[in-house]
Amino acid sequence: MLDDFLVRAIIAGIGIALVTGPLGCFVVWRRLSFFGDTLAHSALLGVLLSISLNINVSLTIFVVSSLVALILLRLEKSTNLAGDSLLGLISHSSLAIGLVILGFLSFIRFDVLGVLFGDILSVNTNDLLFIWIGGGLILAVLFYIWKPLFASTVNYELAEAEGMNPERVNAIFTILLAALIAISIKMIGVLLITGLLIIPTAMARNLSNNPKQMVVLSIIGGLLSVFIGLYASFEINTASGPSIVVVALILFILSLLRIGKKNYEK
């Protein structure tokens, strides 16, 4: 059964959607979507490094993205640059460096589009293992740091005053984000992974009134996007990553109808 690429893609997609749901909520709550984008862009650098050094792609992306995340956290404290400018600087620099390196690697065949937008055909059994084991680890750690992370999201100083060590959980969270990017780049692509993180979550926000409900709904939104997106990708031969994100967008638009109604009732 795992020989069928569509089955592999669906299993991979389920694994990814289970993780993007809860992580996406924190990305939206903490206004980190541009931060996620920056980590994702640095993944291109990771892919190229892994090809030139011939080491595992997911591992290399994880290391590179984690490094970028830690550098960002560090720079945010030590420079006076506004957060978004700093992110823009790192994000586009890493993308540009990646593409320049790509120019030097002209001797290898390399599918840039696949890295940027995801390639359903490239998902092999090994990747499935990475996605499910990696995803399981990410969720386990997130579950463990949930309370302090949530408290510091609501109010950083309150969490710190009451002994929750927000600085540490924030750092752990960014590492989790880097790990998610590492396991999902092949499937969704560098440019679109943030879309899968925040669009189902934005949809979930429109339909929920407490944090747990929002997490559950964003997982469901992610799963639906993956299922319908992959089906469409298979049937009408569209690229997998973009199809998934377009479905997520359609779900978001549908959720706006509900919120419009709710406001009217008020």
């Binding site: 999201t153 009451e162 002994g163 407490n210 944090p211």
Partner: protein, 249 residues
């Protein structure tokens, strides 16, 4: 005073940032069952001092000794973003696990039990403030730090909440560090007052402070007249930023 009752002690504590002192040389002690109130004009370092006591700054001068981990904090300002859906009951268990009964009891004490399923964003300023206070007392802390806990609360509620704070300090035998602008209420409900203006201007029992010359200088004759008029000699003069510019021996 018995030292084991001391929850937090600041000795010569201060913070120097961007080439100026936000607050300096603060000596302060918070003991079990006592309410210490910080008063002072805007920008005088009240919140900063509270944050030093809470350990929210990495590099401070002087020394802070904290003998408890069980701390509750009501910050001056908490804003909840629209993206974050939080109900009152979710907020109550933000940093601690509580029994349903304890949650309801605390909400009942501050008069917002009926709002337990409301979203935080739908609350009025005064209601939100009551929820913040309820959350802080629900965990039965040893030390309670309240930064203007009744801002936006209506007048009758204000009086009720201050007497609740007083009651809590006695019932839980916890120390309370209170920042407030409501001088008349504060003076009647406090054990010890510290008057700040970049440094400790004067401190003592409410009566002592109200009689102090600096208090009158900072808050005007009117506020001093509320309690009593008393003159004594200055030993220093302030510049506009609160620094001592001259010591009179």
């Amino acid at each position: 005073m018995n030292t084991s009752d001391t929850l937090v002690r600041l000795s010569k504590a201060g913070i120097y940032k961007d080439k100026k002192w936000l607050v300096r040389d603060v000596d302060l002690e918070i003991n079990r069952g006592k309410i210490v109130t910080l008063i002072g004009p805007n920008g005088s370092g009240k919140t900063t001092t509270a944050k030093i006591a809470l350990g929210l700054y990495k590099s401070i001068s002087g020394n802070v000794e904290r003998n408890t981990q069980n701390i509750s904090y009501v910050p001056q300002k908490v804003s909840i973003d629209w993206t974050l859906p939080v109900r009152v009951i979710d907020f109550m268990v933000l940093t601690q696990n509580l029994k349903q009964d304890d949650i309801l009891e605390a909400l009942d004490l501050t008069g917002v039990k009926h709002l337990k399923r409301s979203n935080l964003r739908d609350l009025s300023g005064g209601e939100f403030q009551r929820v913040l206070l309820a959350r802080a007392i629900a965990k039965k802390p040893d030390l309670l730090v309240l930064d203007e806990p009744v801002q936006g609360v209506d007048f009758t509620g204000e009086v009720a909440l201050y007497s609740l704070i007083k009651e809590i300090s006695e019932k839980l035998n916890c120390g309370i560090l209170l920042i407030s602008h409501d001088l008349h209420v504060v003076m009647s409900a406090t054990d010890y007052v510290v008057c700040l203006n970049g440094h400790v201007c004067c401190c003592g029992t409410p009566k002592d402070v109200a009689q102090s010359k600096y208090y009158k200088e900072l808050f005007g004759e009117k506020s001093a007249e509320l309690l009593s008029i008393y003159e004594h000699n200055h030993d220093h003069v302030h510049s506009s930023d609160g620094n001592i510019i001259k010591e009179i021996k």
